[in-house]
Amino acid sequence: MTLEIDVEKALGDFRLRARFSAGAGVTALFGHSGAGKSTLVNLIAGLERPDRGRIVAGGAVLFDDRRGIDVAPGRRRIGYIFQEGRLFPHLTVRQNLLYGRWFTRPADRYVTLAPVVDLLGLSSLLDRRPAALSGGEKQRVAIGRALLTSPRLLLMDEPLAALDQARRDEILPYVERLRDELRLPIVYVSHAIEEVTRLATTLVLIAGGTVAAAGPVDEITSRLDLQNLIGRYEAGTVIDGTVTAVDAAWHLAEVGFGGGRLLVPNLALPVGATVRVRIRARDIALALRPPEDVSILNVLPGRVVALGNADGGLIEVQVQAGTVLLVARITRKALDGLGIVPGQALYLMIKSITFDRHSLGQTMSG
């Protein structure tokens, strides 16, 4: 399933001009407040009409102004989780959840009520009306309502912004399962780069109504020129690897990738599973020789490729480790103290712990 977007839309003074295509998996829309993310999602859902252009999802043309095609929202089979909930105030939580099921042919249904209720922790809320829910509870119901339409494409506009970390940690794996097991294509709007890098296959950076960059998530996130758009603090590299060994005693898994092998704690995956790991630039320290007697388990050899721009006392160092490019962020004082220059060989120190659950995601199993 692929998504091809080429649309224009003017809203007052604001002008959205977006053109990109995305393959299967999660397509993340990332950009500042007011960049045009929700507008784009509305166009895909069919709630707003592009001024001109074309929207194709999985081969089906949803909109094409030249050919006069404009499929009604109800026939697009797109599940849309709105940024602002939009629960039906006159229906109970249960009725809200089941609303879309009426309109889904039984043959098309692949989601049922019970697991969604469990996943989202809604069982005690089923008979309430939205007015008696907390902000996070409303958002959870909205997520469930969209899932229960058994959509062919899921649009999620900041679905987890109102939720606490614990809830996010429960919901994200489920989204991953939708993506992987059901091969459900997802368009995911988020401000949280961890979420984006964890879930996304394709990353679309939107700025001022235009697509600043679009491509595979690891490519985009390791581009030094885009670090400003992504936010320096969260910048890092996404790498895909395979579980090569599991150490049950220490709860550690060994993940092999182009740059060597990494030990990852608490990864409940069997040998052979493919995983995605994000390593933030700020979590990598550099050493001239392999450190000893430290609690850091992951030490990889590498060679400095380039130095980024200095940001006050900090600087990014791009290091080639095997086939993979990693970025480390260190102080300029340390850079000078160690005398690091392009071409130099050194060691990357990565605390195992930084492969936390939030930046771990199982990649598409096919």
Binding site: A45, G46, L47, A72, P73, G74, R75, R76, R77, I78, G79, Y80, F82, E84, R86, F88, P89, H90, L91, Y99, G100, W102, F103, T104, D127, R128, R129, P130, A131, A132, R145, A146, T149
Partner: protein, 235 residues
């Protein structure tokens, strides 16, 4: 004073029948009209709006006379209806219901329209993304949310029907058992010496019928507005 003659009892029952049928009969058209006025833009909309208000603008006697001209036995539409379907309104209780429906129509339409205008369109959008087509969106989202307007409109139309006199008497006359509704019976009393007590007695019935309907619809209305505003405590 509270001994009602059989004719009066008949008038009371007839009034109820006329009010309810008039209301029920005009509701679908009123819904459609309100929807069109609220949601569609087309040239000549003000004209349609004006036509809807017409029964309010015209003196009831004129409305009744126009009904007589249109739907009477020799009327443009009346003759055709009689000829084709054997439907006759003139001087029947059905005609009284028609008069009552016509007179209540603007009230019904405007109440519903007001509610329709207040419905959050984003909820309708949400329903559309969930797979509902236009008709289903209307039935499952719009309609429940405009129920307060429908209820208010219905009560207005019902109350109006209990008081409607000019159009009815002009259109279908004042035939006991056929077309003599309560307001007509009350009017008749006011036209003769010593009719005051009779008029008063029937007026009280009229007020009681209206209050009764309001009391009966009270819990329904509270339920509806609580649901629509979502103001319940959770169970």
């Amino acid at each position: 004073m509270f001994d009602y003659t059989p004719d009066e009892v008949t008038a009371i029952l007839l009034s109820l029948r006329v009010a309810l049928w008039g209301m029920a009969g005009s509701l679908p058209l009123a819904l459609l009209t309100a929807w069109v006025l609220s949601r569609c833009r087309f040239p000549g909309k003000t004209l349609v709006d004006g036509v809807v208000y017409l029964p309010l603008i015209l003196p009831p006697v004129v409305t009744g006379y126009l009904l007589l001209l249109l739907l009477g036995r020799h009327g443009l539409i009346g003759a055709w209806l009689d000829h084709r379907f054997g439907i006759v309104f003139a001087f029947r209780w059905t005609g009284a219901a028609v008069a009552s429906a016509v007179m209540g129509f603007p009230l019904l339409v405007q109440a519903i329209r007001l509610s329709l205008d207040a419905v959050d369109r984003r909820l309708e959008d949400a329903a559309r993304t969930l797979g509902a087509n236009g008709a289903w969106v209307f039935v499952t989202v719009t309609l429940p949310l405009v129920l307060p307007g429908i209820l208010t409109g219905c009560i207005l139309a019902y109350a109006k029907s209990l008081g409607e006199f000019g159009a009815t008497i002009t259109f279908v006359s004042n035939i006991p058992g056929q077309t003599q509704t309560l307001p007509l019976a009350i009017y008749t009393f006011t036209q003769v010496p010593g009719g005051e007590t009779g008029a008063m007695r029937l007026t009280l019935v009229s007020v009681a019928l209206a209050l009764g309907a309001m009391v009966a619809s009270g819990p329904l209305s509270r339920l509806i507005s609580r649901r629509v505003q979502g103001r319940d405590a959770g169970n």
